[in-house]
Symmetry: C2
Amino acid sequence: MHCPITQAIRDKWNRKTKPEGSLGRLESLARRVGQIQGTDNPQVREKRICVFAADHGVTAEGVSAFPKAVTREMVANFQSGGAAINVLAKEGGIDLAIVDVGIDGDFDSWIKNSPKFYHRKVGEGTRNLAKEPAMTVNECAQAMEAGREQARHANRDGVDIIGIGEMGIGNSSSAAALFAALFSIPVQEIVGRGTGIDEAILAQKQSVVRQAVARHSEVNQVFLPQTWLAEIGGFEIAAMAGLIVEAAHLNMPVVVDGFISTAAAAAAFELTPETRAVCFFSHISTETGHRVVLDRLGADPILDLEMRLGEGTGAALAIPILQAATRLLADMATFESAGVSNIIPSGN
Amino acid sequence: MHCPITQAIRDKWNRKTKPEGSLGRLESLARRVGQIQGTDNPQVREKRICVFAADHGVTAEGVSAFPKAVTREMVANFQSGGAAINVLAKEGGIDLAIVDVGIDGDFDSWIKNSPKFYHRKVGEGTRNLAKEPAMTVNECAQAMEAGREQARHANRDGVDIIGIGEMGIGNSSSAAALFAALFSIPVQEIVGRGTGIDEAILAQKQSVVRQAVARHSEVNQVFLPQTWLAEIGGFEIAAMAGLIVEAAHLNMPVVVDGFISTAAAAAAFELTPETRAVCFFSHISTETGHRVVLDRLGADPILDLEMRLGEGTGAALAIPILQAATRLLADMATFESAGVSNIIPSGN
């Protein structure tokens, strides 16, 4: 397919004062942002990360290193500005929006009334996906809508790029189950240590994920992505998938965070194949299986800093790289404008 | 060796509201900055990149894709703000200092009188290292002093971290020769396409590098790093090595750029082993052989963005990552301060 924007950006790069292709991935990243935004002058000026938080019934199975209360406590920490994502967003000049899409428990009014906090509870956490469907298809649609809404808000606010992140004790079990189901990956290759569980809990987590995938496969003979997302997903995962679907519709680039966010991207790709074109994968996490699923998705992550924190922290570090790429494309001088000699014509 | 600062920083990270170790390399990078700066409260606030530029007599052998004049033209481009390094330094809030340590030709007075431009010419380019020593040992010492001076200036100006970069048509031949000599790496594994040469020029470049290493090995039976640096190095490579040596003396972290800068680091490590402790390798370049030499040096580059531009561009992208790491260490809340529950004690 001939794309005039792609060609225009290639030409633009090749006039810049540098050896051809020498900016490597920065050149292709800026090109992709341009393709998504539909311009040869792509912009990464207004940046936002949306962090979706929810609880998971599967924590009843003892699959996590941290108690479930940490989901709510960490969201309060986001609002106080003390979490890793706060520090990184501030460093990168990135706006933060926090969406409670189903945390168990309530917040103080100073949090609930904060302008960047969205109270979009679908429930007080999902049901236990090891034993029953995590949510109904209707609840799943409601959670997805909470994500779509954020994409629309970002678009309305002139945001150039949206990062996604999450908080939800138990959600690496849900993400692993989704990957196992979507890609038929053996459970032991996809279930990892999450926030840091020991051998005994790891074995338990594997067994829970195996159970969830088996239970669901029995009930649903035909694969339908939205059914899977409801059966073994999480509210925050569905919300991120919804955001991606809507962002694709609005031609907005999305920066995917780590293991859990990648599950949302994988679900979005199944639901709407056009979403592939708008997603950037920020980093490869050390969570077991992230490499396998990134390979399956044909994703080429921007960073490898051996992180496994979530919250959107990988996205917050990759967005400045995308910003740098677009600024280079916009602001570098050309051989002509700078009076720099170009390559020596070769006899070959 | 027990290091109280290392331990203090480890403890500090482990009190932060995140799973232990989940910030991956950001944790170890901040720890290393702290070790160098001698504090458990490391800072990356004031940042500077010093770009050293010089010409190379070896260009007479036809080893480059670009004409030699480009060294001078690109330095003028640096001063006008149109080069990749200008855009990235501005994005990262990084100061730039440009040092003419031996460019062939002179500059307009507006450039010469610019406050961040240093006229420290050792000569009008090195001699042709394929035929004779590139410089005398005295010239090498003078070039190194131009680098040491920049480390002292940075220290005087309260700079927390220094990046190094270079501009010099022909300098990938010199760097390859240095690596071949220092590490006994076969020439075909270390000679790459630099700014983008074709097969014919690549063969010529390999032959030139082979010649240079052979000539020098014959003359000097005993390996002395400074002799090598003079015989087959470049003024800007010697200057960067000098900067690293002085920075180690002043306990200042140095961020090494790509293939050419790594040659300076390798030389510095040979001259003063303590320099190893202060160097961060910003990225792995696509230049042939960079991976091999990074492995030999035991270096673990921060980024892999398939770049091969030089100028300090890799350093300019890695410095914000180091800054983010130190800010996280300084500003994240602790479990205690944020009222977040810690890990569930396990029976195991």
